[in-house]
């Protein structure tokens, strides 16, 4: 092949350009630390990296959801624990206060029961942030409020279960509805007769829209002078009934009976009849505490799994997009050597032509 000056020059120019652009590319890799600078560098790698990043961001969101759920469940669990403890104290009061006592003792019992009632009411209206924990979907409403007309404690919440996603297609409920935490069914251990032989009958109805169970207890037979019927639909109602019973009063503050003897009998009957419901309430609270605990364990496991997954994803992301520094620097050195050799050889080729030798002749 005939070689001309233009060819030599063009080839040199292209070789220099080729080397320099490769050098520039490696340099970019070095200062960005990434081997994928734009999608066309490695389309598949880019797609994978994007997929990893989206998954990581999604998982981190699930972990934030888990944190939120954990806060709520932890608080709910603590409230249930306090509730159970309070009910235990209540139980102690009934075991020592179920017989006739002096006026001072009865006042003390009544006061303590009223204190516990208010404590339970406070628990039922616990707030996490701006959410009432036990109101279901009605989370801007207090779960229970005192109704000054009926003298009962009314549930203002509903059965709403607040679920948050903790994984693709997996939700966890972060709340315990007030109707499940503070309303309860009296267990079948409820005796048919009190210790003194008075018959007791219990009937319960559950409102399907709120889940609140109303229990009505009838003591004695119809026509008896001490015949008594009363009802309660939650723990506050229950303690309220007892508090007034120690005062020998109904919840509206009136005497249970005009005859003081009958009045005392009826009040003591009430206290006796409420021993088993107290146990039922307490075991309900403990169950709820356990349920909150189980859910927390479940999401903690999920959290651990998400953390592990994200670690794997981050490793994969690094492997996909990050440049190997040692390799890059070695490559740069190689190109520099080639470039130096090219410059040296071209300098000697370009400077020589026949004319250089003609002058010497």
């Amino acid at each position: 092949m005939r070689v001309t000056s233009q060819m030599v020059y063009n080839q040199l120019r292209r070789a220099l350009q080729g080397n320099l652009s490769e050098l520039a590319e490696k340099n970019t890799r070095l200062y960005t630390g990434k081997k994928i600078d734009k999608p066309s560098d490695d389309v598949i790698g880019m797609m994978n990296a994007m997929g990893y990043r989206v998954s990581i961001s999604g998982n981190e969101q699930y972990q934030r959801n888990i944190n939120e759920a954990n806060t709520n469940l932890e608080l709910s669990g603590t409230v249930m624990k306090s509730l159970a403890d309070g009910l235990l104290k209540m139980k102690q009061l009934t075991s020592t206060g179920s017989d006739a006592q002096s006026q001072e003792n009865r006042d003390r019992y009544a006061q303590e029961a009223a204190g516990l009632r208010d404590f339970f009411l406070g628990l039922s209206n616990t707030k996490a942030g701006n959410r009432y924990l036990f109101s279901g979907y009605q989370s801007d409403q207090k779960a229970f409020v005192y109704n000054s007309v009926t003298h009962a404690y009314d549930y203002q919440g509903d059965l709403g279960e607040i679920k948050v996603p903790v994984d693709k297609g997996a939700d966890v409920s972060i709340n315990i509805q007030g109707s499940r935490a503070f309303s309860f069914k009296v267990s079948s251990e409820m005796p048919a007769k009190l210790a003194d032989g008075t018959p007791v009958s219990t009937s319960q109805t559950t409102d399907p829209s709120t889940g609140i169970t109303t229990t009505t207890i009838e003591i004695g037979n119809a026509g008896d002078p001490a015949h008594d019927t009363f009802s309660f639909s939650n723990i506050m109602d229950l303690t309220n009934v007892m508090s007034y019973a120690w005062k020998y009063q109904d919840i509206d503050g009136t005497a249970l009976h005009s005859n003081s003897g009958t009045n005392e009998l009826m009040a003591l009957h009430r206290i006796m009849a409420l021993t088993v419901p107290l146990d039922s309430a307490r075991s309900q609270a403990l169950n709820m505490e356990a349920e909150a605990g189980i859910r927390r364990v479940q999401i903690r496991d999920q959290n651990t799994r998400l953390t592990a997954t994200n670690l794997n994803l981050k490793n994969a992301l690094t492997a996909t997009e990050d440049a190997d520094m040692t390799e890059t620097i070695t490559d740069i050195k190689k190109i520099e050597v080639a470039l130096d050799a090219l410059r040296a050889s071209s300098a000697s080729i370009m400077s020589k032509s026949l004319f250089d030798f003609l002058t010497a002749v």
Binding site: M1, R2, V3, T4, S5, Q6, M7, N10, Q11, R14, K34, I36, D37, K38, P39, S40, D41, V43, M46, M47, A49, M50, G51, R53, V54, S57, G58, E60, Q61, R64, N65, E68, A69, G129, N130, R131, S135, G136, Y137, Q138, S139, D140, D158, G160, I162, K163, V164, P165, K168, G169, D171, I174, N175, E321, S353, L354, F355, L358
Partner: protein, 540 residues
């Protein structure tokens, strides 16, 4: 033969050497001139004198000065310049479009989309929270801004392509008129008996053709007088000393189309920068831009459908989260126009684009623009509603078979993209009734959209579909840069071959210089000897 004949032979040798020396000098002078073709002197034995002893030589003449030129290589070079121009233009535009989707450097919409999704998740975990709701609105607005910026990035580079197409049109006209001028000069220089080739003019014309080849594909033929005719898309651009005007005009889609001598030749321009720009423009519009708009339109449609079924904190319902999709129409008709276009059934909308055409018998036809399949047809009534796929359009006026309208729910999808909810209370996180601040079922359902396959997007999820767009942009850009590399190498290879045949070698010219110098010296010596011989005779 008289003694003076020796003078003539010596003189012919001097003249020939002197000519050869000037050609050599011309070659050396043009060693770096692009497009210069090396010239060679062709020596010829002068007509001999017949004597009784035989024919006696009468020295040398220069028969011609020849270009070292390979017509085949030159035509390959023209073809490769056209390929190179095309690849260059495609690589340039696709490289810009790729940058819009450069997720490697945090461009693109993936981050904004994830954050928007996460904001819905936060709202679902805290449906009554004020902060979470405000953050959701901020993230949604950021998503809107991001999508708009990206669309502008794409349309801006398409606009630049349009401007460049106009500029190239002007360049083509300028080159064409120069070629026409040189055509005239060559015909003049080469006419008349005994004139050789107009070497340098031909070099100039070849250079201009190379320049033209980078811009547009064309074919040429040379007539008997040496003038060439250049045809682009079956129309003459240059013929003899005349040119036709190359021009560009906007079409209804806002794209420039190219015209030569008044006829639209856009579809026949395949190569050169012009072919590349036109091809890549259509490709980007019908693939990347279309898909991106479809993604946003789908996000609007799906989100709004779920959102409007839910309830806000203030118990409001039926609210769109994003501004509702709108139908854009455009088209060409002398006497008819689209009087209304609206979405009648959001759920039936398939996010396709449609062409509405008419036939001579006054029937209308609606075709899917992407697949080409017939969607619906019927008898045209002026002002009557044409309904299909949840869209209803009305056309009024007299239509004819050449009329054509496009109907698209996608074209304005990003331009009209915006968050419709401004009051955080109206974010419908709740799935039922009034006053249920803790109900998050609807928020979960919206966040769940990101885990679902969307029918309109070919049963892929939002993220997967977006990945497809990025991958498409990357692959197209990759292919363009590969073919640019290939065409560049091939062009260098062919140029190399041309230089090998036609280029100037200084070594060669230096040798020639000495050779002709020596032959000049020898010729001069001959004249001196002849003179001495004459002297001898005169001194007798």
């Amino acid at each position: 033969m008289p003694l003076f004949g020796l003078f003539d032979i010596g003189k012919s040798a001097l003249f020939a050497s002197q000519t050869a020396l000037s050609v050599t000098s011309h070659n050396i002078a043009n060693v770096n001139t692009p497009g210069y073709t090396r010239q060679d002197v062709v020596f010829k034995i002068a007509n001999p004198e017949n004597m009784h002893a035989g024919s006696l030589g009468r020295g040398v003449t220069v028969s011609s000065i020849k270009r070292q030129y390979d017509r085949f290589i030159q035509s390959q070079l023209l073809g490769q310049h056209q390929n190179y121009g095309k690849s260059f233009a495609m690589n340039q535009t696709l490289g810009q479009v790729e940058q819009v989707f450069n997720e490697a450097q945090g461009m693109g919409i993936a981050t904004a989309l994830s954050e928007y999704l996460n904001a819905w998740n936060d709202v679902s975990a805290n449906p009554e929270g004020y902060t979470q709701r405000v953050v959701l609105l901020q993230k949604a607005n950021a998503l809107v801004t991001n999508a708009k910026q990206m669309e502008r990035g794409i349309t801006d580079s398409l606009k630049r392509s349009n401007e460049e197409i106009k500029g190239i049109g002007d360049q083509i006209n300028s080159i064409a008129s120069q070629i026409a001028d040189i055509n005239g000069s060559i015909v003049q220089a080469e006419s008349g008996s005994g004139s050789g080739n107009a070497n340098d003019l031909r070099d100039q014309r070849d250079s201009l053709l190379n320049d033209l080849a980078e811009l547009v594909d064309f074919s040429t033929y040379e007539d008997a007088n040496g003038a060439i005719t250049v045809t682009v898309g079956m129309r003459s651009l240059v013929y003899g000393e005349n040119t036709n005007t190359f021009s560009t005009r906007m079409n209804t889609d806002g794209f420039r189309e190219v015209y030569l001598a008044g006829s639209n030749i856009t579809s026949s321009v395949q190569k050169g920068k012009l072919g590349g720009l036109i091809g890549v423009r259509d490709n980007v519009t019908s693939n990347i831009l279309h898909d991106f708009r479809k993604l946003v339109a789908s996000l609007i449609k799906e989100t709004n459908q779920v959102h409007s079924a839910g309830y806000g904190l203030d118990a409001s319902t039926g609210n769109n989260f994003f501004n509702s999709l709108q139908i854009n129409t455009s088209g060409s008709s002398d006497n008819a126009s689209v009087t209304s276009a609206s979405i009648t059934n959001m759920a039936a909308l398939t996010l396709d684009e449609y062409d509405v055409t008419f036939d001579a018998a006054n029937n209308y036809f609606v075709h899917n623009r992407q697949t080409g399949s017939l969607v619906t047809s019927g008898a045209y009534v002026s002002g009557g509603a044409i309904a299909f796929d949840g869209i209803q359009v009305a056309v009024s006026g007299t239509v004819n078979a050449a009329d054509h309208f496009t109907v698209s729910p996608l074209e304005g999808a990003i331009a009209n993209f915006g968050v419709a909810v401004s009051d955080q209370q109206k974010i419908a996180a709740s799935s039922s009734g009034s006053g249920l601040p803790g109900n998050n079922a609807n928020a979960i359902q919206i966040a769940d959209l990101f885990n679902s396959s969307i029918t309109d997007l070919g049963d892929t999820g939002f993220m997967d579909y977006y990945q497809g767009i990025v991958s498409n942009a990357g692959t197209l850009s990759r292919a363009a840069s590969n073919s640019l590399q290939f065409d560049d190498n091939l062009l260098a290879e062919i140029s190399n071959r041309r230089d090998s045949v036609s280029g100037v070698s200084l070594d060669e010219e230096a040798a020639n210089l000495i050779r002709y110098q020596r032959s000049y010296e020898a010729g001069a010596r001959m004249i001196k000897i002849t003179d001495e011989l004459l002297q001898t005779i005169l001194n007798l």
